[in-house]
């Protein structure tokens, strides 16, 4: 089994099925996929279709419901709040995702290197934050960010530092990035580590016979083998960044003035529908965000795969 899985050419991230070896084309497969698709249709496709339907209407508190065509889309495309929130999450994923994946990669390589004392302890310890619910994680970090009585305040007092308020307007995005990084380093590390573990030992033997050093092994053996895992981690991080919601919305009670109601596109859509009852416009925003996310995920996947070829 080991050999079989390593044999298959990697790199076609999410590019769909390779041809099954021998199987004629018939409907048998549907019997297996049908249960998934039924539930999937109910909980995802139907709401998406319903959202698309809603996006063509406008319902007012006074005046009722009316068909408006693409007016909501027109409004969204020129909505500065929407684009500000898109800009913010774009900045977030351009900065946070590489840092997080970089640290995770480093940790995975370190644990895999066999040069670490207590490597299995490290593996579990770094992975543990992934098990902490985002609600709990945000409550914890929110406390530690406190400049008066929190950890930051304690450090400032004790060492006479002047760490700026992590929830002040210039730092709040970085502080949220820190929480997300903390939550997901372990997850990505394990993703990478697992990919490293299936590299056949023969490769290392061959490399060391050639006199290759650790860094050369990393560059020519480990990194190519890791690329698909990095692509997967990248795609999920992109989707995660654009869907940023839990962390800022829970921190909002601690930083009311620096986390606006349109901090992320998702928060904007949420506030529009749940506070403002603008269900139609909210649905429009959701669809546009979905389309943009899908396109970027596609680009990440393609760029990752192309290098492999």
């Amino acid at each position: 089994m080991t050999t079989l899985s390593t044999l298959t050419p990697s790199g076609r991230a999410l590019s769909g099925p390779r041809k099954p070896h021998v199987q004629k084309r018939d409907w048998t497969g549907w019997k297996f996929i049908a249960p998934f698709m039924v539930v999937f249709t109910l909980v995802l496709i139907a709401p998406v279709l319903y959202s698309i339907y809603l996006s063509f209407f406008k319902e007012q508190l006074v005046g009722g419901n009316s068909f408006v065509g693409f007016a909501n889309y027109g409004q969204a495309l020129t909505d500065p709040k929407f684009w500000e929130s898109m800009g913010r999450v774009t900045l977030f994923f351009v900065v946070q995702v590489p840092i997080m994946l970089g640290i995770a990669l480093f940790a995975a390589l370190a644990i895999d290197s066999a040069r670490l004392h207590l490597s299995s302890f490290f593996r579990i310890a770094i992975f543990l934050p992934y098990a902490v619910p985002a609600v709990v994680a945000t409550l914890m970090w929110g406390f530690m960010y406190g400049t008066k009585f929190g950890l930051v305040g304690n450090l400032n007092d004790f060492f006479h530092l002047a760490i700026p308020d992590p929830l002040g307007s210039s730092w709040v995005l970085a502080s949220i990035g820190n929480i997300v990084t903390w939550e997901f380093i372990g997850y990505n590390m394990i993703l990478f580590y697992a990919a490293l573990r299936v590299i056949p030992t023969d490769l290392y033997e061959a490399a060391s016979l050639d006199g290759a050093g650790a860094f050369r092994i990393i560059r020519s053996i480990k990194m190519p083998a890791l690329r698909p895992a990095i692509v997967i981690g990248g795609i999920f991080s992109v989707i995660g960044s654009f869907q940023l919601f839990n962390e800022p919305s829970i921190l909002q009670s601690l930083a009311p003035n620096t986390i606006s109601t349109y901090f992320s596109p998702n928060m904007y859509a949420y506030n529009l529908s749940f506070a403002g009852q603008q269900y139609n416009y909210s649905a429009t925003i959701a669809i546009i965000v979905g389309l943009i996310t899908a396109v970027i995920a596609y680009i990440v996947q393609n760029s990752g795969s192309r290098k492999e070829v």
Binding site: Q60, F149, L254
Partner: protein, 454 residues
Amino acid sequence: MKSPHSTRKALRRTAVVVATGLALSMSLAACSGSGTGSTAASTASAADITAALNEKSTITVWAWAPAVADIATAFEKEHPNVTVKVVNAGTGNDQYIKLQNAIKAGSGAPDIAQIEYYALPQFALSKSLADLSAYGFDSFASEYTDSTWGSVKLGDGIYALPQDSGPMAMFYNKAVFDQYGLTVPTTWDEYIATAKKLHAANPKAYITNDTGDAGFTTSMIWQAGGKPFTTTDSTKVSINLQDEGSKKFADTWNTLLSNDLLAATPSWSDEWYKGLGDGTIATLNIGAWMPGNLETGVKEASGNWRVAPMPTYKAGDTASAENGGGGDAILEQSTNKLVAAGFLQYMNEGAGTQISIDAGGFPSTVADLNSDKFLNATSDYFGGQKINEVLVQSAKDVVPGWSYLPFQVYSNSIFKDTVGQAYAAKSDINAGLTAWQKATADYGNQQGFTVTSK
């Protein structure tokens, strides 16, 4: 505020007796009969309600006030056929979101919901709430303080019965005042001077905390005599957040903000509770329901806090405002409105009021406010002070004529995007208020209201 007359004394007696569990079989008809002179219509409704309460039924109540569960238990003892299911569906806005969703979906709403005064117009004007005049509840007007009754009477309808109220007062940490030789300010100018003196004496201490809060700001504008929001025939709205009162408040608060005299600690955070305990937050201008929260949340400062009337803009004036508090409304979706009306009356007009008071709620019923027992109650937490004397006086001093927007919940939700930015940048609050007004007016227009923005 009129003094209670004999019928109300009777009501109070009933309430006390029921609350102590001695008159469990007291019928609701007797309670309502002890109200003010009932009209013919309300008598008929009262009979209908009584009849409905004798049949087997279940109603659901969404409320986060802890007393409601106790009130339901007491009610069920009197009306064994009725089951009252009390559900805590979230505090404040969390619950309104669920309520709004259920209304939008056309099902799933409770029979009765707790709704704060500021949110009431939004639900009432969208025809989601039952007009309680149909049950004769409009005759209860004189039993409640003017400000709370004014909050539930929207247009010609009554859309909730007031439960608690929050006339504002200045809570101050006497230990801190003594330590730094401060005197209790009676005007806002003195308040600013005190703030400076305190902060100079101890740079870690602040006169109060404020990071920009819609509820607080609107209450402060109210106290300053501002009337920024007016609604006529439910769809015509006018907004002026730069009227005289709004400016008066903003100018005063600008001084505190720009001189760095406000602790940037969000209310209700754990840092806030810490600050209230260790003296770094020296005063709070807040609703009369605060004592209970201090007692449970800031135990370590027991004996330190006192209550004084709100400072005013002119020496010798008395002016107050409502901050928080709310009532309970019957949803249009309810299929059992008679039973709901019966429970609502019990809860907020009958025996329930005393249970609510015992649980720390500040009443809105005139009889309770003026009872000797209530006025003379001393609190060990407040060093033996008769705090209710101050708080009840505040209820009488509330500036009349205030109203909220029919989309205040949304408007408050975007407060932090506008006025909050002024707080964050320590810049002019007036500019923030103007931005808030514009965003609110835009929303109103988008939703089909006719908004006049002055």
